[in-house]
Amino acid sequence: MRWLCLFAFLFALAAPAAAVEPDEMLKNPTLEARARDISRELRCMVCQNQSIDDSAAPLARDLRLLVRRRLVAGDTNQQVIDFLVSRYGEFVLLKPRFEPQTFLLWGLPPAALIGGAIGVFFWMRRRSPADGAGATLSEAEQARLAALVERSTDQATH
């Protein structure tokens, strides 16, 4: 239901509800904390941009329980995530992996920063006074400057 209301606004509003329920939580606090960490990285596939940790959808609950079952069975965090990806595809990851189809996604922010910095560097160098663009005046300009200086001193003495 959540995405329905999205159209009404330029801002996110989710169907209010409970996410993790007390009966889902593991007794072992370390495992539970790991389960929460993993849940924040996984997308609830029937929601709009919600992690399974936040979502109230039944599917999210199933996934949360699944994550906890795998953890209890002794999987590492990575194994749990790999398992979910093998089952549901890349779509389940809120942080896409670095692979050919996401090279651009991960590459563009640093490329923009570095490219921008290089651009600024060359632009500054081209415009720096050292290369003489603005440092010297042509003869005509010198003459005009002299005339202006003279006129202003004239005015000042009057």
């Binding site: 009966d23 924040r40 941009n49 563009l108 922010p109």
Partner: protein, 659 residues
Amino acid sequence: MIPELGHYALVLALGLALIQGIAPVVGFRRNDASLMQLANSTAFVQFIFVAISFAALTACYVSSDFSVATVYENSHSMMPLIYKFTSVWGNHEGSMLLWVLILALFGAAVAVFGVNLPTSLKALVLAVQSWIAAAFYLFILFTSNPFLRLANPPFEGRDLNPILQDPGLAIHPPLLYLGYVGFSIAFSFAVAALIEGRIDAAWARWVRPWTLAAWMFLTAGIAMGSYWAYYTLGWGGFWFWDPVENASLMPWLAGTALLHSAVVMEKRNALKIWTILLAILAFSLSLIGTFLVRSGVLTSVHAFATDPTRGIFILVILVLFIGGALTLFAWRAPVLKQGGLFAPISREGALVLNNLFLTTACATVFVGTLYPLALEALTGAKISVGAPFFNLTFVPLFVPLMLAMPFGPLLAWKRGDLLGVAQRLTAAFAATVVAICVTFAAMGVKSALAPLGVGLAFFVMAGAAVDLCERSGLFRVSLKIALRRGLGLPRSAFGTAVAHFGLGVTLLGIVCATTWGSERIVSINPGQTVSISGYDLTFDGLVPRAGPNFRELAAKFTVREGGVPIGVMQPSKRSFSARGMTTTEAALMTRGASQLYLSLGDTETDGSIAIRLYYKPLVMLTWLGAVIMALGGALSLSDRRLRVGAPKPAARPAMQPAE
């Protein structure tokens, strides 16, 4: 009758917009002042007609006229009056009408307040503004007419989406739209300047108040939306990197960059081409945001394909305006002359750095938001880009930006002295070190990065304070002189310091609330007590209540601190019969800048209830900081040199005294 009146007024506004889009341009070509000045009256009357149209729709909602389709779909006769008002824009059609109302308002404001603008520039600005308005009037009239009637009017409406029945709806969208749409003025100024082929420091001075006003509203609007989401969602998050949020963040980032580059242009006549480009980009991103949210493309590319009329219409508007403006830019920008020179270490240099990071951050959000859509459209592969991606890419861009922030305002124009500035920032460095040490001592080393974040927040805040001290000479000259100098400082200097300080406050709130918050998710029976961060909450029982158009089940909790009762929290669950939907209303208790947050989960048959209880230390600072930022904008705006429109030349003696 009333809806037809509103419909007709909108058609008239479209007619006026077409006249205003053509006549001043013709006047500009023929150098005919009377044709150019026509835009002043049309802009004003256009606003009146859109206002009539909006008032007509509001009247339909308030009188619960269910013969109007949108009223039937989004209102209910039992709703409290305030929600009858707000439901006007709580749906697609009405919110687009609000959009054009604000667009027309800004157009009229330029006509009224821009008395000192050169006739030709003003005429062109109003013409461009009218092109945008005409496009959106057409969009509303052809694809999203809010005044359509139903053949067989039902007796009762289908109610407003219960999630939107909240005071937040009264404030958030109008503020956000004032920001979004406000950037249209900067856009129109940029396009007008490109058409005229003339641009100078005065242009920047004319544009800056409008940009500042839009930025202020957008800042407040985003913060308001964030707070609304925080208390509505029921789990205490306040920023989700949702595409809809990103749609508002992108114009904010571009607008912030624009504000800063316009300073360079105004003071030093440099960065002209870049400033023009940013002015175009800021509004383009607003348009893209509108497209993303309105077209349904976010749900999936396929949802867009099933009902593409609205999406394609906006896409055409998007291509026409963004494409047109960028083409004009590519064609005319080389004509513009570059201005003042500056060394890399200088106020200008710092502002260029600011722009580099802000635009990169904006590009990052842009790529992250649109990449999944583009990938799915091109290859069919479905990926998700969510909060973990943005946290990983956005945060590293904002850290250096904020590190550099205290330096910028202290550097001199043209050529600055970095070492000297660093020396003057000694007090800020000291505050940072103390903040980091105290945080480590109090909170331990469990999360090593968070105390550094706190340090950064204090560095930014202290840096802003140092900036004001330096300008007024506090601690260097006598208090009296410093006070007099401080009062004599231009308001924009205060604005800068206050806004920068606000960003530090926001950072502090975000770091503290996300790092040291605690959470309890438990099942609880009446009479039992749950504790969190020194507070004990006793569940007293469930109380059924009836609201105007809903029934609710409230859970009463008595809150004690050290055994002393300090208040009652009553989170509830509401069921709205008209739509058969339930909502959970979280209960908040503010303690200083921190909050206790309590929301309900499922009720069990044995009378126990699942609750989620959060303690959010200093979370209020997140939004307070944004309010301070907006206040900084308002201070700057009140600077008489920047007064909206053009500054009147101060009364000066006709002849400068001889030196």
